[in-house]
Symmetry: C2
Subunit: 381 residues, 2 copies
């Protein structure tokens, strides 16, 4: 697979959904792309060999987590993040702007950066935008994210105005700090649920200029309709020739909707978190493997699925593993869920290529309704 | 691989250690053999594909655990234990005699069987020797173990005398209950640390006649010298043409010692339990991956090892995963530990075949002493 400096090739656009290819120092991946989350340098319960098997082309790690533990120095000494975690493909590192706000005690946002206590050992840290770029360069990820300022939801227009101002200033410092290693740096559009602030944020970032643009600060509690209204507004402001990344979303439905309005990249903990809580994503809807109705069910989680889990194990076995707290449960569930997500995204790409995204969408929802049409929820059984 | 009714072929004996081959309805395995423990129908943190890769030929499940959860009925409905857990090779099921004593509340040993409360939900159960055979036949394991009566250590001669009497009577009932499905049934020699009771137990079981003989009730707290004295005494009483299984042991050293006195089969939770506590078995001794000395160590756990873990990951990464409580830690550690155990046993078999078991033993211990010759313990670093 071709490796090289970061570049984005837009293969198809103009209709609903875009097709592209991103080249990085560690190979290429097709867009739309779903990135499994491996915050601490491991996609929970999965080894690199599993990721290859389920169809992962690019994954996400978190600079904040890795900076705190094991420390940037350790990763560098062992040969960089790819060598460290045994993953040879592209890696995007999130800056941790969101995690510092959501996980750390005693965080103080200052003009120069953010002061916080580690959620692991309480140690004091001060990170500047330039330092966060330096960390990601030392980790050696392929796509770096700027340190942004993401206020919690709900936040007043004044709070969000201040956050956008800081996000722009930090983005400028990040771009200045960036070396010439062939890694990409993405800006992050903030602005909460306020269209005019989103517009300001997007324009200011475009003026600085980045390799790609992310939409941050969504799916924090606002109505899903608003999420996609804001996302669509921002997408319309972004240039066609740069990749667009909708951060931290989402459900299979979110991904289909996001692609149709023009998103190229997604990440979400849902498939791996669901694996650990017993939720399995299937073409017929989401099933809860703990349910008693599966206790002697010899069928695989999704009879239409070709993953290792579905080819070898029954719902009865997966339920037994889960109830017995066997570690294998989380892995087999994660293998299935990620295989499902990647298959979904592959299917969407094919539909865009063939101009059949409308049919694809109808089929996607009708299959789910057929079986999930039970009162009170979208969970089968 | 040849499948068929249970049989044991003794390929070499007379010196230190025996070589054999066991045929079962689900294929053959070589002896001496190490059986990973998958009590609940899963070798902790590993999938069948891993077991194949690390060299597992036969594994152990536990009838007591599977009877309680998910229930024999469920396993049968889904197609039997092999199908249920996706393992096509030979399976030995332990009866659970030991687990009922060690795990259950309110256990009452009666002449007809044992009454106990489930350690899972407190439900009341009464299991007879015949019922335990029936459970194992329904599970469809290849080698079944009789329900035995294993008193805790220490126990008085009177207590052990009574336990031997019951064990013999139950063994007789088990043999009578057994159908003709090609599955094997092993007797279990009890008798605590009392040579005359061990002799009585062995003679009575031999009189009934079993497909193989296990030595139970050892390694319960007695001195290791006594363990092997008793084991050796019992082995001398057993016929050469039946397999001998030393239950629940042990360390790499135990296995080497056990083989040299004539044991054919071993099981132990140590490699998988060690994986979950950060202990890695290596040719240089046991290392504790949590230790700070590994924090930036780019070497694999055992540079001499060819397992997936050692071929792809550093001690620094494994330490990071463990300290971060990443689920992948337990799997990568288990892959390495079982690969080590199976490689050790393969090496022992080769040494027996080549009449070099003395040299093998010297090398085994000298490699460990070279590096573990630090004060106060056998743990490297």
């Amino acid at each position: 697979m071709k490796k090289g400096r970061f570049s984005f090739q837009l293969l198809k656009h103009g209709g609903e959904g875009r097709l592209g290819r991103i080249t990085t120092p560690h190979g290429q991946f097709s867009t739309p792309a779903f990135m499994p989350v491996g915050s601490q340098g491991s996609v929970k319960a999965l080894a690199p060999v599993d990721l290859q098997e389920v169809g992962t082309e690019v994954l996400l790690c978190n600079a904040y987590h890795l900076y705190l533990r094991p420390g940037t120095e350790v990763v560098r000494e062992v040969g960089g993040l790819h060598r460290f975690m045994g993953w040879e493909g592209p890696i995007l590192t999130d800056s941790g702007g969101f995690q510092i706000v959501s996980m750390s005690a005693l965080r103080e946002i200052e003009a120069e950066g953010v002061r916080f206590r580690s959620h692991i050992d309480g140690s004091l840290h001060f990170l500047t935008p330039a330092k966060v770029v330096e960390i990601q360069e030392e980790l050696g990820s392929d796509i770096m994210m700027v340190l942004d300022n993401c206020p919690p939801y709900p936040a007043s227009p004044d709070e969000v105005t201040a956050a956008v101002r800081l996000t722009t200033e930090w983005a400028r410092q990040s771009q200045q700090a960036k070396g010439d290693g062939g890694q990409a740096l993405f800006g992050i559009v903030q602005g909460g649920v306020y269209p005019e602030l989103r517009e300001q944020s997007a324009h200011e970032l475009l003026e600085i200029g980045f390799d790609g643009y992310a939409i941050g600060g969504l799916s924090l509690g606002e109505e899903k309709e608003i999420t996609f209204e804001i996302a669509e507004q921002v997408l319309d402001l972004l240039p066609a020739n740069a990749p667009r990344y909708l951060m931290g979303m989402g459900t299979p439905e979110d991904i289909l909707t996001g692609v149709r309005i023009g998103v190229d990249m997604f990440d979400c903990v849902l498939p791996t978190r669901g694996a650990r809580t017993g939720l399995l994503f299937t073409s017929a809807g989401t099933i809860n493997i703990k349910h008693a109705c599966y206790s002697a069910d010899a069928a695989p989680p999704d009879p239409a699925c070709g993953c290792y889990t579905c080819c070898n194990f029954s719902r009865a076995y997966l339920r037994h593993l889960f109830l017995s707290r066997e570690l294998l449960a989380y892995r087999l569930n994660a293998v299935h869920n990620l295989f499902y997500y990647h298959s979904l995204v592959r299917g969407i790409r094919q539909a865009i290529a063939e101009d059949t995204i409308d049919q694809f969408t109808r089929k996607f929802f009708s299959q789910r309704e057929d079986i999930t049409g039970v009162e009170g929820g979208d969970t089968v059984c």
